[in-house]
């Protein structure tokens, strides 16, 4: 029989429905694979061992009946350790399920464990995790991207079927690109964040990381929707995304922003993305040159807004209600200071300092308010662009995966690796990364497709058409 761990969720669903495969067979293949490989890849921080008999009794009518899924370690699963890969949340067992977890359980998905990430999702390489870095399955000396690097690596290495990530400035799309898989950041407000441990509340979204576009559509259909527990989730109907999986891009207007093809973009990445745009053109899409003039300000804007909101969100980690507490302290304030200084890693401290500075008295207007105003300009760029096109296509990351350790001492150069993914978060837009090529060194390259708010359907249509006409998503790392 073919190895079940390498199949997609939609294919396994068919096999389960036909009675050819049982969920316990999939789990058994996956756990063999994890046992053989995860010592090298280190995608997981915790692996569950769901009971085989129980897995086979799963609700067959569910949209994900019997399909295993891996969850990023910042999403709360009731009574299962959830740490954001930080010492400060050591041993934390949430007393409730995140809304996305409730939805997954209701549709019969099997939770198989927690994946590694940058501490509190602060990073683009998975190197800031308190558990140590995850490795890129395509080259174990390279980073998998971040912050959802564990989820992307687990999908790429066939150690899971599906995965959930979260994306604040590219944390789903950049690792998906660097690991050669599909990653979607939905529209801001599309998916409930109740139970997602907050990083930057005006930017965070949960989304799918999968082996192909059809699986991403399937998984988004399960997790999307309004939730009264998240007041930022938007009350609009969730379409049947399966209907967007059509092989046809004729007449679709695809915008290519000149500001994204600039100095710093690796030649191989540029060639692959331009090649992919030509594929879409040959399939009948209309390519339009567009301009997003405020692109060069996106990273600056983000590195005010995200740390500012993070410093406020992370104030709750004080050693009182959960997680780590310093052993000895003189008084209350001393307990806070010692607990936080021991519990947070370097990047978390750097962002808390930067954010606190930008929000501190006398600086709020000059930094946070200024950044929110520039954010309006960046949104307006997209509003204008979407008058002339239906989708925007860009590279996902300026380079393929870099070496472990390469950017750890230079935070600014690490921050600049998010240059193409950050604008979608600032503007709240849906954006997907799909495989579109390989470098000479056999490292995956991704292309990013952005759409208007709540128009994930058009992204699925273009991505599905591209995928059905290319073979990039079928390549597997040699492990």
């Amino acid at each position: 029989m073919e190895k079940l761990q390498s199949l997609t969720a939609h294919r396994l669903k068919e096999l389960i429905e036909k009675g050819d495969v049982r969920p316990s067979n999939i789990l058994s293949d996956l756990f063999d694979r994890i046992k053989a490989l995860d010592g090298k890849v280190k995608a997981f921080v915790r692996v569950n061992k769901p009971d085989a008999a129980e897995a086979d009794r799963v609700n067959k009518a569910g949209k994900l009946a019997g399909i295993p899924i891996t969850i990023k370690d910042n999403i709360c699963v009731k009574d299962e350790e959830t740490t954001c890969a930080s010492k400060i949340l050591a041993d934390f067992k949430p007393p409730y399920d995140a809304t996305v977890i409730k939805k997954l359980r209701a549709e019969g998905a099997i939770l198989m464990g927690k994946s590694n990430m940058d501490e509190f999702a602060f990073g683009s390489s998975c190197e800031t995790s308190c558990y140590g870095p995850t490795k890129n399955p395509w080259d174990l000396e390279r980073i998998p991207g971040g912050s959802s690097g564990g989820s992307a690596a687990a999908v790429a290495a066939d150690e899971t079927i599906l995965a959930l990530g979260s994306d604040t400035g590219g944390s789903i799309r950049q690792p998906a690109s660097l690991c050669g898989v599909v990653g979607l950041k939905p529209t801001y407000g599309r998916v409930s964040r109740y139970g997602l441990i907050a990083f930057a509340s005006s930017l965070d979204q949960i989304g799918p990381i999968t082996k192909d576009v059809e699986d991403a559509a399937l998984l988004l259909g399960v997790i999307a929707g309004h939730d009264e527990m998240d007041s930022t989730s938007v009350d609009v109907p969730v379409p049947d995304y399966k209907r967007s999986l059509v092989k046809d891009v004729r007449g679709l207007r695809i915008g290519v922003p000149k500001e994204y093809f600039i100095k710093g973009l690796d030649k191989e990445v540029e060639d692959s993305v331009r090649g992919a745009i030509n594929v879409l053109k040959d399939l009948g899409a209309k390519i339009v040159d567009i301009s997003l003039p405020h692109t060069e300000y996106a990273v600056s804007t983000y590195y005010i807004i995200a740390p500012a909101e993070a410093s406020s969100n992370l104030a709750r980690f004080d050693g009182v209600q959960y997680g780590h507490r310093a052993k000895t302290s003189k008084d209350m304030i001393d307990m806070y200071i010692k607990t936080r200084s021991e519990g947070f890693g370097n990047e978390a401290k750097r962002r808390i300092l930067l954010g606190t500075y930008c929000l501190s008295s006398g600086y709020y207007d000059a930094y946070y308010l200024k950044a929110q105003k520039v954010r309006t300009r960046i949104r307006e760029d997209f509003d204008k662009a979407f008058g002339a096109c239906d989708l925007v296509v860009t590279p996902t990351s300026p380079t393929a995966a870099f070496k472990i350790g390469e950017k750890m001492d230079d935070p600014l150069s690490m921050y600049l690796s998010d240059i193409y993914t950050i604008p979608a978060n600032l503007a709240g837009l849906p954006a997907m990364s799909i495989p579109c090529g390989f470098s000479k060194n056999s490292l995956p390259i991704g292309m990013q497709i952005l759409a208007k708010p709540f128009d994930e359907e058009t992204i699925f249509r273009a991505a599905y058409t591209f995928e059905q006409n290319t073979e990039f998503h079928k390549q597997k790392p040699k492990l």
Binding site: P95, S202, T232, Y297, M332, K349, A366, K373, V374
Partner: protein, 100 residues
């Protein structure tokens, strides 16, 4: 916007953040934060005089209200389960008020 951030300022911000930094960390962070802030300074190139700030990217969202209805919550036992120290139905912390 100020272009640089010195060690005194970093020390002050660390205190506001309830973090303590040793001399080496102070040195490293002030250098790195200065570099980041000088990059961020680019935003001053843009005139934002009449621009409204964005706080929620999807502009159509209105303020959210709900009915004030009593619903069951997880209760003290569950709420205290993860606490580093408790006493009875309470979180226990070091002494705050001076006295015996």
């Amino acid at each position: 916007m100020s272009k640089t951030i010195d060690k005194t300022t970093v020390k002050h911000v660390a205190h506001l953040s309830r973090l303590e930094l040793n001399d080496k960390e102070l040195e490293t962070y002030s250098g790195q934060l200065a570099a980041i802030l000088s990059y961020i300074d680019k935003l001053n190139e843009i005139d934002t005089k009449d621009v409204a700030p964005t706080s929620h990217a999807i502009a159509s969202l209105k303020n959210v209200f709900r009915k004030d209805v009593l619903k069951p919550s997880i209760g003290a036992k569950e709420s205290l389960k993860n606490a580093p120290a408790t006493e009875g139905d309470f979180f226990k912390v070091p002494q705050i008020i001076e006295g015996k």
